[in-house]
Symmetry: C3
Subunit: 417 residues, 3 copies
């Protein structure tokens, strides 16, 4: 049995990451160049605004959303930044290699950076499932694996299932949720009593997590509309996401009070379920023609998110030993599936009016997209989980789960919040 | 006498809000549709940026501004989000019904959503007066009443007093402050000793409230310019608000130190008074032709805000029993009145140069606007206060005032900040 | 020896600041007017977005970055806001007087406000060196001195060394760092044991400082591109800063783990070193033609920032008694010098291709810019330090260093975080 002191990552993390970083730079030297074509300049600055919103969601929103673990908040925020900065570089390279295979060089423009950032966000989401039970080395390995899997998903999805970037990126939440679940399942161990105490939420971390939630809530419409080109579609995407989020916020808080015997609201539900509407409306946000449909989606998303958190959480935890540190399953998993189903229904209804023999096939393709996303998510997650279980990564000991002190230099006086 | 345990809102809040939410959706089904006219697309995306700023102010700014109550910060932030999400839906419907009464359907575009968000902000402001002493059911009822009153104010103000949207929305601060005062007055009870301890500010909540203040300070120019159409007026509005805020920040901090015998600054003053300049310059921000006028307004606003907080707070508290949990009166009330007077003076000076027989009437109209706003605010606030006093809302017991534990599921270990 | 109770600033701060504020207003009355020429309106609103990003960096980013001092966080954030609001007004006036000396009046437009805000940011950076050991009166005096010195630097740099605004503003980090160092050096006294305990970082302030870091990290590309006019240069500036920041974040976290015997990361390093890439790439960000160069700069910046923090911090502290409360030296000082050298190399390489006799002179000019910035920073910092040491400012006693209680009204119950 191992020591209770966390194994030092000193001779593991820095060499690995610095070697990878140098490797990235070398690849950038030989394969990338900036797009020097003078495109539409006005559009560039408009798009940059949306890109900024996405970065705020990734760095501030997802960073603080996972900071509710009382003793693990420094790690949550800082590791999130690390994975983002790391994942973006890898995703730009990989996207370039797979999408522009023949041209010999990767042209970097705002679109490719934005795509890379949104791909890297799936890593940040999955990490929410296992935060507190892994070290940064494992997260780096996971980032490499997951970005690779997601880029493969996108490339083949585009080629064989006609998934455009908007669809694959809004499906990335589902992908990330199931990826995270599988990693979590492979890594899960029964929690010790002392670790259980550390997951309890205190006032300060609860507020920081609320800050993350609010950043995501405010900028989610930008995420859903980021890859749409036609202004009319963007407008619909913005409005529908806005309404879905408003309704899911109201629903989540109400249902959370309903589900507690004393009528008390659970802040962990709120952190996650208010966002369910944005996830659920994602794939079809540009197609929904009137606000009430988006609102209904938001209502259902809020309901299944809280319902799932309440009922399935306990049962999955006991049966499969899945912990899901930050509730990724009910924030992104189920609402994402709902969104997939809503997209399929929308597309089928659209096709339906002019009956054609291809319809069956098209319906199959729409269903295939969702299945493909879930399948790749689970398979690559399983593989990643197996790799992360290896001894070489020096995972923290169970007694040091959810504990910043395993990773951070603390002054003896400063342990309280 | 009631139990000290807070009455559960389990069979009160969720049924009420979910029924209302479903009702909203049904109304949206029958009466609303998206604006499909392809307007100026560039303008759409510009305006969306300003709209985003307003949402940041409402969700982050006003949410965290009220989080300074040491034991009530979760409720402050989350209830703020709830009221915003709820109020926006009701305001869109009501604005539509009263402004487009004949057309049979409400066309939803960015302008109507923005107007609804800004109308809902008045609820968030008023809530600052009574937070900690009411439950979420009461806040929902207040949101319904206040949005209704404000939409009525706007509609009749537009018809009979020629108030355009910019004026009514910048006057909304005054409306909200007096609405909140009246509700507060009806609900006020002497505070128990244990509740008094809970209103003291600790370091963490103080910083979170500062975060809210800064978000409001940064984006206030966007709020003041949001409903102006002419670029030149917007430019003036942005600059004047910028200068007024800069001067009121300097003044507020200085005068707060001056007003304390030991020269110590009161953070509660700072949270509120640095914003006084933005409120005071609001109605006339597009008319002021040179920066120094805005700066003088900012200076006076800072002075009366701190002065009022210092002198009148104590006396009003003792005489009328008004508590004003988060200092709404001196953030929005007095500076708002100053802004109203400044607007009247500006308009009178403008008219004055070309003497005409209509002048008296016009001056009366300008003064009537302010009186109308204050009157409607006080009347509807009084009515709302009487309704909220009813037993059926299961208001928290005085011993549980300012206490998150009345509303939130807490883990036994996590009571400290 | 003085009393341990902090001398009250009651009869010192408010009179000084209010007199200055009134003086500013009077100067604005006589010398300023808004730019009423109808420029390119679209461009105005675009530029306003960038200006907003800069304000977010100044008020939120730099405000919270310095809030990591456990017992000094209220002062850090609020004094930062004060200096910003104050410095902006002074900088607008001074920039106007020195740049438009003959025209008799200062025309205020968005560019001049933006320039003033960016100039005032140098005060906020320098303040990070001495926060906790000075009172607000001293900071006001420093703001006056530093803005004056920086405007002189810019004016003469423009006249004699052809420094454009982009160069002088990206060099402002170096200027501010060396200015702060010198002030720090003049003010430094050995810390008492009780003060040492107060500088330790606790969980909550650590997270708030992380919030500041993230705000700066997200919006740094906007700062670096704010004063560039050509869209192509802005695009390069945005992309290069983005990549440099990504690499420096990865490098900083890795190297911080490497430099600790137990492999533990130091959060203070992270707060500062992740930003080093943005500082280093600043002056040449619009010239760098491909991403890998920016990435290399980010890598080196991260290395020297952590290396310096680790090695030189201790030695400078012991030898010169420089404390550098918030690590300004390794966030802005060294990476800024690196950025200056990178700019010189870039420019020399550019000139090199077409050999001409002027080259030597041009190289000298490029080197002269950096030397000029450092020299003015050190000289004016030294002078300011000497002035701030005067007894008349009633500096806090050493026993009250790093303590909010010296400046803020506290409730007896609310001393914990």
């Amino acid at each position: 049995m191992g020591s209770k002191y966390p194994p030092s990552v000193r001779f593991c993390l820095p060499p690995l990451t610095i070697v990878l970083e140098v490797l990235f730079i070398v690849l950038f030297v030989f394969y990338t160049s900036y797009d020097t074509s003078l495109g539409n300049q006005r559009k560039f600055l408009e798009t940059y605004g949306v890109f900024q919103d996405v970065i705020i969601m990734a760095a501030l929103g997802l960073g603080f959303l996972t900071s509710s673990l009382r003793r693990h908040c420094w790690s949550s925020v800082a590791f999130n930044l690390f994975m983002l900065a790391f994942g973006v570089q890898w995703a730009v390279l990989l996207n370039g290699f797979l999408e522009q295979p023949s041209s010999g060089g990767i042209v970097i423009n705002l679109y490719s950076i934005q795509l890379a950032t949104m791909s890297a966000m799936s890593v940040l989401i999955s990490a929410g499932s296992i935060l507190g039970r892994v070290n940064l080395v494992q997260l780096v390995v996971m980032a490499l694996m997951e970005v690779t899997a997601f880029v493969i998903l996108r490339t083949f999805g585009k080629k064989f299932l006609y998934m455009d970037d908007h669809i694959s990126l809004t499906y990335s939440h589902v992908f990330a949720a199931y990826f995270g679940q599988m990693v979590d399942w492979r890594l899960s161990k029964p929690l010790l009593e002392e670790a259980k105490e550390k997951v309890q939420m205190a006032t300060g971390p609860g507020l920081f997590a609320m800050l993350g939630t609010l950043c995501l809530w405010i900028f989610w419409p930008s995420f859903n509309s980021a890859l749409l080109d036609v202004t009319d579609e963007r407008k619909n995407a913005l409005f529908n996401t806005h309404y879905a989020l408003a309704v899911s916020a109201v629903t989540a808080i109400s249902v959370s009070a309903l589900s507690n015997p004393g009528g008390k609201i659970n802040l962990i539900h709120i952190h996650n379920a208010v966002l369910a509407g944005g996830v659920a409306v994602g794939p079809s946000c540009h197609l929904i023609p009137s606000p009430w449909l988006a609102m209904v989606l938001g209502l259902i998303a809020g309901l299944i998110s809280i319902g799932g958190a309440k009922c399935l959480q306990v049962c999955l935890h006991h049966q499969l030993g899945i912990h899901d540190s930050c509730g990724v399953r009910y924030t992104f998993g189920w609402p994402g599936l709902l969104g997939g189903v809503a997209y399929i229904v929308q597309m089928v209804l659209r096709v339906d009016w002019t009956w054609n023999p291809m319809m069956d096939q098209q319906v199959l393709i729409y269903m295939g997209m969702l299945a493909w996303v879930v399948a790749i998510g689970m398979l690559s997650g399983l593989l990643t989980g197996l790799i992360l279980k290896l001894e070489i990564w020096k995972a923290p000991h169970e007694a040091k789960y959810f504990d910043d002190q395993a990773f951070w230099k603390f002054h003896h006086l400063a342990t309280g919040f």
